[in-house]
């Protein structure tokens, strides 16, 4: 299912900005509507005894673009793992699109994952498959018909501007190109949610910016994006919603935030 103009109109109001020519369209999520992702008093303690998350409450409306920030080990990755149901919460409830993840049956999990597009720091491309095959893989796994696969893959590769390299193997691509392939793969089944864990972590600033443009464009088409990141420049530049996690708790949740809380850490702004 693609996103039609009407979908966009009903999902979010457009905010027209002066930079609209150069910057992707920006959506304003409707914070009053029922959230599509919601964490309710979520605790996560790993079997080793590590207390990764403590009492997390978080609501994400449809069409939101949310940065998860915080030092390493703060619990960002745990939030991501809980969201893709690699882990279950020890206590509390997580709802995504009306489904409570902790109580979802194991055999339903694949169908949930199909609603989600995942992007990782290490790309997770299959080295023995070409660019085209890597993207097509996500559809083949779902048993989609060949013609459909061809059309959708072509569309996804066009979105990430990699149509010319569809027969190249990942090893012959730059880091940015590899991440674009991974994004195409995450997009190809038109997921409603994009969850990204440090997608720019291995990329130089210019390439990271390109990748961010892609995420913004995907968000503008209606997908809800949750991104764990360490990339301060990008977070500060985009001024989107920022949820800061520190020592397993939400330290800050700003609708138009920065990487660091200016008041608490003035030295960061001084440089």
């Amino acid at each position: 299912m693609g996103y039609t103009a009407r979908d966009l109109a009903t999902r979010a109001r457009r905010r027209v900005t002066p930079q609209q020519e150069t910057q992707p369209m920006v959506l304003t999520p409707d914070f009053e509507s029922r959230p599509v992702i919601s964490f309710q008093r979520v605790f996560k303690t790993y079997p080793t005894g590590t207390e990764a998350l403590r009492d997390i409450n978080l609501e994400v409306p449809e069409g939101d673009f949310l940065f998860l920030v915080g030092p390493s080990g703060a619990g960002k990755s745990t939030v991501v793992r809980l969201l893709i149901r690699e882990e279950k919460p020890t206590k509390g409830k997580i709802f995504v699109d009306g489904i409570e993840l902790g109580r979802m049956k194991r055999r339903k999990l694949p169908y949930y994952r199909r609603k989600v597009g995942l992007v990782f720091q290490d790309f997770k491309l299959l080295p023995n498959l070409t660019v085209y095959e890597n993207v097509a893989f996500a559809l083949r796994v779902l048993g989609e018909p060949d013609q459909h696969v061809r059309d959708r893959v072509a569309e996804a590769l066009d979105t990430v501007s990699l149509s010319a390299k569809e027969n190249t193997y990942p090893a012959n691509l730059s880091g940015g190109e590899q991440q674009r392939v991974a994004i195409a793969r995450a997009l190809v089944h038109a997921p409603r949610f994009i969850i990204a864990d440090e997608p720019t972590g291995n990329l130089d600033p210019a390439t990271a910016w390109e990748i961010m443009q892609l995420f913004l464009r995907i968000n503008a088409r209606g997908a809800t994006v949750v991104m764990a990141t360490h990339n301060r420049e990008i977070v500060d530049l985009l001024r989107r919603r920022v949820v800061a996690i520190d020592a397993g708790q939400i330290a800050r949740d700003d609708r138009s935030g920065r990487y660091h809380d200016d008041v608490a850490k003035p030295q960061v702004r001084a440089q």
């Binding site: 893709i84 194991r106 994952r113 997770k124 299959l126 893989f137 779902l142 048993g143």
Partner: protein, 296 residues
Amino acid sequence: MLRNLKFALNSAWQSFWRNLAVSLAAVLSITLILILAGINLLVGHALSQVLDGFRAKVSEISINVSDDTPLQSVYDFEQVLTADPRVASVRFITKDEALAQFKADPQNVVFAQQIEGNPLDAKLEVHVKNLSDVAGIDTVARRWSGVDPTDPTNYQGDFVNRMLELSSWLSLAGVALLLILMLVSVVIVMNTIRTAVYHRRKEIEVMKLVGATEWFVRGPFVIEGIMTGLIAASIALALLVVAYPPAVDRFKSDIGFIPLSYDPRFITILAQDLLLAGALLGALGSYIGVRRYVRI
């Protein structure tokens, strides 16, 4: 569904060739195991063939009639036996018939020329329905007044019982051996498939992340296991089919007293058993091998 099957077959085939050394090692080990299993089945079959012949023979008991028994008494006893529910048939053989039978046997040619008169008893040949009833009929016969007291019947109770016991022990041992062989082949397939899983762990991870179902991930491995089992079964079967007739010939000349024979019909049964066993063992081994790793 069909597309998924195509995908599974393709990746199973690729994986088999990608880990050729491991795959071949598994095929060879399972071939050996299936050959052993096949030999077990063949020996078991030959044994049951022999036992069937043996059973037919020992389910017959002949009661020797002493020379001074009046014919009427013999007929009366024949009636009693025929009425017995354990008895299938009774046949009276006169002294003359017994002698004729004795002389007709080529083994007795020399001996037959030397005997004078007719030293043989008349006898009642009784066919019982169940082998285990032979002993009962023997008791009845021994109590009969007309029986030859020096050599009442040809029943050798101990021998029969021991043969029966031996045959049941042998079939039990055969089953136990088969079970052990199957267990070993399941473990071999399991380890082969784990190697395949290890080689494809990245692919499995990506499959899970993009929403493949567990059976979609598992399918190629299970098919690879079935493939391994079937290839091994085919090789084992071919070798056994080639070796079966000469082996029978060889044993026949070595141990002539056992009525061993080549049974071409059994080849079909053997083929079914081995191929089915190969496929099932392969499927089971790979299912167990991959189970833990495809858990989402």
